[in-house]
């Protein structure tokens, strides 16, 4: 018994050491980015790893103003928001159908939609531009959002289908006894259980498009519609990158993502454990 307690303590210590190791790996870069954003330009090079001697908080003001972050924040919010609003219902429906309904050609549809995770989005950029131009949707948020949604289907559908498959078979039957329609049963009973899948999509696809540059640069043609990553281009000079100011801008652009993640991940965990208990 004593041996058991000893092993338990050792295990704890081991866990904490492991945790400390990973924490250094993740926290130090954050600290480094924040301290870098407060240095002067020459200090950034002469004092790479240390704390700033004299914190330059005005870097944040300069970055905000120089990259025009206010407008771009709003644009990024609108773009990513509408993107998710289209993507989530669409993928939930498709994922549900492909997981739990039986109809002819289901497998073909599934494999067809899955093709997308094997296609590099960067390669599609030029052809996509031509198509959006043909549709007259160039330089509009709608065009960008539709492109984002179309090209994010595969992953989301895959995730959603996985979660729907893992739910117990008895759910629909219960709904039918309730007398719900097919769609009603899906929305009221099944969908709430798929929150983990939805949140995974929000975090993964939402984040990918929050940072997306290539397609945004092709499809958006006027300053009023530019998203955050396009704003970062104003720091992208080959020789004289002002790292502190750029880091300040990036810190501000990343902050909301981290906040959303913090909010989401609670729901995520809750959703998962609830699903498991009920199953």
């Amino acid at each position: 018994m004593k041996n058991y307690a000893f092993r338990k303590v050792m295990f704890r210590i081991f866990l904490y050491l492991l945790m400390a190791f990973f924490l250094i790996l993740t926290l130090y870069p954050i600290f480094w980015m924040l301290s870098g954003s407060l240095k002067t330009e020459s200090e950034f090079f002469s004092n790479v790893w240390g704390l700033p001697h004299n914190p330059q908080f005005q870097n944040y003001a300069e970055a905000w103003q120089r990259a025009g972050l206010g407008m771009k924040f709003l644009n990024s919010l609108l773009t990513t928001g509408s993107f998710l609003l289209i993507l989530i219902p669409m993928n939930s429906c498709a994922g549900y159908a492909l997981a739990r309904l039986s109809f002819k050609g289901k497998k073909i549809i599934y494999n067809y939609l899955l093709l997308g995770i094997m296609i590099p989005a960067g390669v599609l950029a030029m052809p996509t531009f031509t198509i959006v131009n043909e549709m007259g949707l160039l330089n509009s948020r709608v065009g960008l959002v539709l492109v984002y949604s179309g090209q994010a289907i595969s992953f989301g559908m895959f995730i959603m289908r996985n979660y729907f498959i893992s739910l117990p078979k008895s759910l629909e039957e219960a709904a039918r006894i309730d007398g719900s329609s097919d769609f009603g049963a899906f929305v009221r009973i099944i969908l709430p259980l798929a929150v983990p899948g939805i949140v995974t999509q929000v975090i993964f696809s939402g984040l990918a498009n929050w940072n997306e540059y290539l397609r945004a640069n092709l499809l958006i043609r006027s300053a009023e519609l530019q998203t955050l990553p396009l704003g970062m281009a104003s720091f992208a000079n080959q020789d004289t990158i002002n790292y502190p100011v750029m880091f300040a801008a990036l810190a501000m652009a990343t902050a909301p993502v981290i906040v959303i993640y913090l909010v989401c991940q609670k729901t995520f965990v809750k959703g998962v454990s609830q699903g498991a208990v009920k199953g």
């Binding site: 002469s46 509408s82 043609r221």
Partner: protein
């Protein structure tokens, strides 16, 4: 809570759909649209806005400024603008891009005649990099540069050494520096596109200061890249490593690392392709510059450089609006306006006459000794693939994975490959048809 979130999201979507299309009503007053990469220097965007406002006050012509993307994405943005039928009157585009990509695509207007009245507004030789096949495709508007070596005067004084003029002297002082525990010279070897820069300097001397002529011969097929001069130049760069001037530190160092190693006084010298450090950037020591040393007897040290940032007129620009466009060009070239915008670049060369140069002890040396004999960077003239090949082979020869002969043959093969695959022709202007020229003539 969920319901509120849902409502908010829906409103957001509805609003975004409403605001999405953007109104496209006809402009009432005359407009000049300037398209360009996102402004990169502090205060530059504001300077442009001020100049645009002043111009509108004087002439009643509105200037629309559209900044987007990175400097090297301008060709792509220009092409998409053309495909989408956008109205663009002026585009900011660098000399390197004009030479290697844009002019040959026919996306730029031949502005030789339009610019004739304003040629005297530019510094001596500044329009050369924008002249291809005898025609002018753009004009410089920004800073200019030339490559050289920075050195740490304090370290040099402490060790009792002088900046070298010959290769032997450079080897000598490098030994002294490295014995004192410093890296003699640092270079951005990890940045793939800078190896060719060292090659230029050696090549200028192995060709007895005919680098441009020999490069033209190479690109038009009159000369192979595996000629003795090229091989000798590659070997000269390699000997920088063999003789301990450059060390393996440079192989793993990018532009930032190079600056940091120099500013932290870990390296005593830093080879650079442009004027990127001012004395004010390094408060800890005194900054000096010297030219590339003489490596071939009888040749002189020749810098490479040129005014990289410029402005051009797209070939698809509205011909009826050219008058307004040229009025704005004239306005931009007035010293007081040029000073407002180019001043943000901390200029070291008088690209547009009348601008104030940055106050730095090394600027005078640059302008008096180096700029007069500077020729354009060869990678502005080479197609991108050739530059990439040169940048690949030099570290490979240094690492011993190939010989200089094999390396230069690989560069020759790269040129032949794009001739085969993309129909690359260096002197495209000689094979343009009448209708090609018509498209780019105002």
């Amino acid at each position: 809570m969920k319901r509120i979130l849902f409502t908010v999201l829906l409103t957001v979507l509805a609003l975004s759909l409403v605001f999405a299309g953007g109104a496209n009503e006809e402009p009432e007053k005359p407009q000049v649209v300037v398209m360009g990469n996102a402004r990169m220097y502090e205060g530059e965007e504001a300077a442009w806005e001020k100049v645009a406002a002043d111009f509108e006050a004087e002439t009643g012509i509105e200037v629309v400024l559209r900044w987007q993307g990175k400097w090297n994405e301008v060709p792509q943005n220009l092409s998409t603008a053309s495909l989408a039928g956008e109205k663009v009157d002026l585009v900011t585009v660098g000399a390197g891009l004009i030479n290697s990509i844009v002019a040959r695509t026919g996306l730029l207007m031949d502005i030789t005649d339009l610019m004739e009245p304003y040629r005297d507004r530019f510094g001596e030789g500044m329009l050369d990099s924008y002249t291809i096949g005898g025609r002018l495709w753009g004009f410089p508007y920004g800073n200019s540069a030339a490559g050289f070596t920075y050195y740490n005067k304090d370290i040099f004084n402490n060790l009792g050494i002088e900046p070298p003029t010959t290769y032997e002297e450079l080897v000598e002082i490098s030994k002294t520096i490295s014995d004192a525990g410093y890296i003699p010279m640092i270079f951005r070897g990890k940045d793939e596109t800078y190896w060719s820069n060292l090659f230029f300097y050696a090549f200028a001397q192995t060709t007895m200061n005919q680098p441009i002529e020999k490069t033209n011969d190479f690109l038009t097929g009159k000369r192979s890249f595996s000629s003795p001069e090229e091989i000798e130049a590659v070997n000269a760069v390699v000997s920088f490593f063999e003789d301990g001037i450059l060390t393996s530190d440079s192989l793993d160092t990018n532009g930032d690392g190079m600056k940091a190693a120099f500013l932290q006084q870990k390296a005593a010298m830093m080879h650079t392709h442009n004027f990127q450090l001012l004395q004010t950037d390094c408060p800890d020591f005194e900054l000096g510059i010297f030219e590339f040393p003489i490596i071939v007897e009888g040749a002189y040290s020749q810098p490479f450089g040129g005014p990289g940032t410029g402005i051009a007129i797209p070939s698809f620009a509205d011909r009826d609006n050219l008058d307004n466009t040229m009025k704005f060009v004239e306005f931009l070239l007035r010293p007081e306006n040029a000073d407002l915008i180019i001043g943000c670049y901390k200029p070291v060369v008088e690209v547009v006459k009348g601008i104030n140069l940055v106050d730095d002890p090394n600027v005078q040396y640059l302008n008096e000794v180096m700029i007069p004999k500077t020729v354009p960077y060869l990678d502005w003239i080479w197609p991108t693939e050739v530059n990439a090949a040169v940048c690949q082979i030099i570290p490979a020869v240094i690492a011993g994975t190939m010989t200089a002969e094999e390396g230069t043959e690989a560069v020759q093969a790269a040129l032949e490959r794009i001739q085969r695959e993309t129909g690359y022709q260096y002197d495209w202007w000689n094979s343009w048809t009448e209708s090609d020229w018509e498209r780019v003539t105002p």
